[in-house]
């Protein structure tokens, strides 16, 4: 996949270097483990919840001069894929304009996690990206 914003492209290129599935999974788990929850008070507002994400993910966007920043709360200790993708989006979308965010393809999920995700799982992750797009629209 080409044409991604530079930080997202770096993630995709790095994960593509792994031929071994287990090693790639460990790399994604490392990303998940670097995720930290934001300081928003609980309960998180319903309007911030990503629809259809089994792991209960919440997103907040903030526009500042020059671009957007996003925060993600993954309210499920077993939501590892969601934590990894939250970290990737948080870093990768930071500072991008609305137009740049809109152009990030949903297939980014498959580039990161591969095609072996269940359909439900992949849709939940895609909805995290789509929620960012809606916030930035």
């Amino acid at each position: 996949m080409t044409g991604l914003p530079p930080r997202l492209q770096d993630v995709v290129d790095t994960l593509a270097l792994f031929d071994d599935r287990s090693e790639k999974i460990q790399a994604i788990i490392s990303i998940a483990e670097s995720y930290s929850a934001p300081s928003h008070p609980k309960p998180y507002p319903v309007e911030s919840r990503v629809p259809g994400c089994e792991s209960e993910v919440y997103v907040w966007g903030r526009h500042f001069e020059g671009g957007w920043s996003f925060e993600f709360a993954v309210d499920n200790p077993q939501g590892l894929s969601a934590m990894a993708f939250a970290k990737i989006l948080q870093d990768g979308l930071n500072g991008l304009t609305s137009d740049e965010i809109r152009q990030v393809p949903d297939d980014l999920v498959y580039e990161v996690f591969g095609r072996e995700l269940s359909m439900g799982k992949s849709m939940g992750l895609i909805n995290m990206l789509q929620m960012c797009k809606r916030i930035a629209a």
């Binding site: 460990q26 077993q78 590892l80 894929s81 990894a84 359909m119 849709m123």
Partner: protein, 284 residues
Amino acid sequence: MNATANRSDVTTDKLVSTEWVAENMGDSNIRLVESNEDPLVYHQGHIPGAIEIDWIRDLNDAIRRDYLSNEAFSELLSKAGIGPDTTVVFYGDKNNWWATYTLWVFELFGFTNSKIMDGGSLKWKNEGRELTKEIPNVAVAPKQNWTRDDSTIRAFRDEVLSHQKQSGQLIDVRSPMEFSGERTHMEGYPNEGALRGGHIPGAKSIPWAKAVNPETGEFLSLDELNALYGSFSKDNETIVYCRIGERSSHTWFVMKYLLGHPNVRNYDGSWTEWGNLVGVPIEK
């Protein structure tokens, strides 16, 4: 051996506690199998000695909508070091949703020497029990010939239609919004949708997760389960369904093994088939 050490209310030997697994996980005749919705979970840490079975990669035909072939299943069990006398204990994330699905697929092929660890990986982790990232080296078991029997615990659309026409017992385990037809797919799962919304006429709505304590991941007590499913007669056949047959495998397990209904089948075609079929009855 008291398999259900902390569950004096259920008599099935299909359910084992985390304590039982901790005491028996070194037994070479027991194979622990983790099945998850999230493919990262096993690799972050699993019960020592547990192998992973992934339902997409391992249990489904890669091309057509069906489960794996007899040959592929026989190969899978051989590589997993599972013979006919091996006791397989399934567990996983999301309240054992995927673990019960894997158990159901195993049972399709006649493998019934299986159990579910009550509470799944959530309870195991909450209790601070040992986890490892080490993938076990499993000794290959002699290959057996396993044969899938689709007639006993699996239901197909024509059978469901016939069952419905005879006012047979049906349980729809999807969300209330899917049952009512307000949604044609589970929230956020548009690719698993259908052209029509609603439910099979006569089906009762009991969302699958109601059978589980969300705090512990354990199945509810027998009294609570009886209150939930008490209107269904054990004397009659029950067919359960959801969207693609995974959530309903959880309810199938509850009905068959915890409540002791002898004749329960899972309609894995479920709403993604029924809601797209021409001419079948639908109720909203």
